[in-house]
Subunit: 495 residues, 2 copies
């Protein structure tokens, strides 16, 4: 994307907002993390492979801002935190929760106290599914007696909806495991997410936002135009799929739209109201679809005006939006808040935002480039773990201590010498040298089996061998295969 100089001001807004969201998502991951992360240091700096290809790495700062719209500053750290959050558990006794609910175990409360879901007390847990071992979110509507069993057919309809901006429902059921009659909804779990409310309207978020805005001299917008367009695009895309299936979201709410990673929105809790209010839901689908468009409009007004009360005084809010945002954006908000009519549809909204979708495609593609590049790089480590484990299996095995092949005259002695070369280097005055770069570089050459020759010398200088990485590799593989086949043969015998 070509950024012209006159867009400097917009870019300034941009930077402010990115830092603010990055900080909040970072706090979300920190809050849920258990294990220390001091050990999570990346090995990137030691590898021989250029970590990032130029199309990912070589961006000027102002280009980086525009293209890192979806890329967190601390991508790897956030991903590790998400993995950690996913495996976090508490014993049932500690949390006072049942050990098992249907096929779900290891319940872990995601909120400290009960919430309210349209008047019903509700709870949010993470739980592991016994049948596939994966974590899910369990929404529990407390003390709800399902009168009409047909209501569950709505869940079947929702299960067909798969969309990148909608959290998928897995199933719903009733249970007495909590000691009452609860209605349970199971959704895909997105670790370390925050709601739009948490991203923009908590005292903490507002304080961060104000601090950042002040740093720019108070001229920046809380939610820059580009971000707002991205949010509009994502929600509209989700609504199009939902409405096309004859359903309605009914959860376009600042507390129900969640950010699962930087600037990536997803509608949550879809389908719950359809079950809770089944009698009216199926008849009034067109009405609720119109409601979706109205609540969508209100959400955007709240974000644009940085106030949850903004839609109480719409004329003033419109004036604010007209002043600080483009006419196109104002028109979309106008349309969303216009009087419901059969002609007012999400398709028309999509048509209005058409060209803005390009930004969405472009920034998402840049994110995939970054991810592809990082992943390609990290895959190297998977090979090294395998190689280092081979060393572990064959080195210093008590079984081999009397084997002449491992003695100083045997053919396996080279493995011992290479281990010394790899890990036990000393400098000219005999001080141990700890050099990860040396280790990684040697392991990579060993893994590739290159022809490069090295001189291996025993510590007492009695033995010296010149040998290629390829020969060492063959030797290690042969030793490992001997060990493995002895294990395999005997293992089959004893079966």
């Amino acid at each position: 994307m070509c950024i012209k100089p006159e867009r400097n001001i917009t870019l300034l807004f941009y930077t402010v907002e990115i830092q603010h969201i990055d900080t909040l998502l970072h706090l979300a991951t920190v809050a849920t993390a258990t294990t220390a992360t001091t050990n999570s240091i990346s090995l990137n700096q030691y590898h021989k492979v250029p970590a990032l290809l130029p199309h990912v790495a070589n961006l000027l700062p102002h280009q980086r801002v525009a293209q890192s719209f979806l890329i967190p500053d601390n991508l790897n750290e956030q991903l590790i935190k998400r993995q950690e959050a996913a495996i976090q558990t508490k014993s049932g006794k500690e949390s006072g929760l049942p050990d098992e609910v249907h096929v779900y175990h290891s319940l872990y409360p995601l909120e400290e106290k009960a919430g309210k879901f349209f008047g019903h007390p509700s709870w949010l847990y993470k739980a592991i599914c016994r049948t596939n071992g994966k974590p899910y979110v369990m929404v529990r509507i407390e003390g709800f007696r399902l009168v009409n069993e047909h209501a569950m057919t709505m869940v079947k309809e929702w299960k067909k909806i798969k969309h990148a901006n909608i959290i998928s429902i897995k199933e719903a059921f009733t249970t007495r495991a909590f000691g009452d009659s609860s209605l349970i909804f199971i959704y895909d779990y997105h670790p370390c997410s925050i709601t739009l409310f948490e991203a923009y309207f908590t005292p903490q978020a507002q304080a961060l936002l104000h601090a950042r805005l002040q740093a720019t001299g108070g001229t920046a917008l809380p939610v820059p135009e580009t971000t707002l367009w991205s949010f509009i695009t994502q929600i509209a895309s989700a609504l199009k799929t939902i409405h096309a299936a004859g359903l309605s979201a009914r959860t376009i709410d600042i507390g129900k739209v969640i950010m699962t990673s930087k600037n990536r929105l997803r509608l949550s809790c879809c389908g719950i109201l359809d079950v809770l209010q089944y009698e009216t839901a199926s008849q009034k689908a067109p009405y609720y679809q119109q409601e979706d468009l109205l609540t969508f409009g209100k959400l955007i007004v709240s974000l644009a005006c940085n106030s949850l009360q903004s839609f109480l005084n719409l004329p003033q809010s419109f004036e604010y939006i007209s002043t600080f945002y483009s006419a196109d954006l104002k028109n979309v908000v106008f349309y969303l808040l216009s009087k419901p009519s059969p002609l007012k549809t999400i398709d028309e909204v999509i048509r209005m935002i058409g060209p803005r979708l390009l930004h969405e495609v472009n920034s998402t593609q840049y994110y995939t480039d970054t991810l592809e590049s990082n992943l390609g790089f990290e895959l190297e480590n998977s090979r090294l773990v395998r190689l280092l484990s081979k060393f572990g299996f064959i080195n210093e095995r008590p079984e081999f201590s009397d084997d002449p092949r491992w003695s100083e005259t045997g053919d396996r002695y080279v493995i011992k010498l290479f281990r010394e070369y790899l890990f036990h280097q000393v400098n000219e005055v005999g001080v141990p040298v700890i050099d990860m770069a040396h280790v990684i570089s040697c392991l990579n050459k060993l893994d590739a089996g290159v022809d490069e020759k090295i001189l291996l010398t025993s510590r007492d200088d009695e033995t010296s061998i010149i040998v290629s990485y390829k020969e060492i590799k063959d030797c290690i593989n042969s030793a490992f295969n001997d060990l493995y086949s002895s294990f395999h043969t005997n293992n089959n015998k004893t079966k």
Copy 2:
């Protein structure tokens, strides 16, 4: 996305095409790979963490087809191949190429013989930049004498263009390093890419395509409608950015549009013609922009009709497109091929394809989900490499052989016993047990320093200790820190 049953036929087309592209990209990666990949086995199956979160893993087969539009079947394998291709080298003597050209070294020919670039003999190399160590593509126009130095200002304009569907130019210069006067263009390098020609029109691609089409009973289309829309979207998005900057692509050609990963297109060689034909380029920008739209249209017709001659008989081609593709698609092609006029613009094209952009956004977001999930998982390995290397540094050091702390009564003895427990397990009849799952699980617990206690016994059954992972972790860290600080202290002294 909700896939209704009546779309089965489209999905069938889809599957056919995906396999075909996957195969070709796979062949491209195999052709350029050097090191064996038998060692690239993933360790996924051994880790404790659920490798994929449910929103990525739990898709029904027909959903997977729609959402894996951009996701290669063998993602990790392809990424490893790309890394390998990026570091591939040949010595200058072997290839007969200069050792260094400007700041670029390690030239590696990407094509076996010279090509033609609008009448000029041209060569394609991969080269490493000395200043940042990253690989680039070097396009060499042989025997070209640059008359007007101002021509290079065009490169400056192109350097400002950063777009996910355009290969970025880094610089251009003239050189005598090849023994002639050559004009050199440096672009970002995308390993293992194929051109659209290679993807669809080589005898190999056609054979693959026909075999797959026959398997479906001959009812499928060579390029399904969804794929064609995606290609149109990507090229249109690139052209919008180029035209908005007052430039023209002039390379919308089946041999110049390349696929850098599955279904992901990028315009290549942008800017070269602007330098080669500088005199006319700057004056005729509007004319060339109209040309872009026409060549864009021809490209789509060729793909839709699966024939490079199709645009020679446009009425027949239009009839074919009308029969097999939607009216919307036909209209876009019609528009692109309509008579040039100042009112015919890329903006109008974008407006026409508006709603189709949603598919692009959705499939790209699904791809980011998969990548995020895989990356989060692979990051675990980075920690394990670090941990295993620590073992390597401290275990069996000759320096420690007489240290009482490492003897059977010393506090470091637990590390020895844990190593035995980790790698040197034997079964009840004394046969070595090779169990990677055991190793990875123990290492993960060790890394997290959990409170779980294990019984460590020496091989001779003389010593038994009950110890927690946390205690073992502390012990290993203390041993490593001792070693590291001795290295560090002495290292500083000797400096």
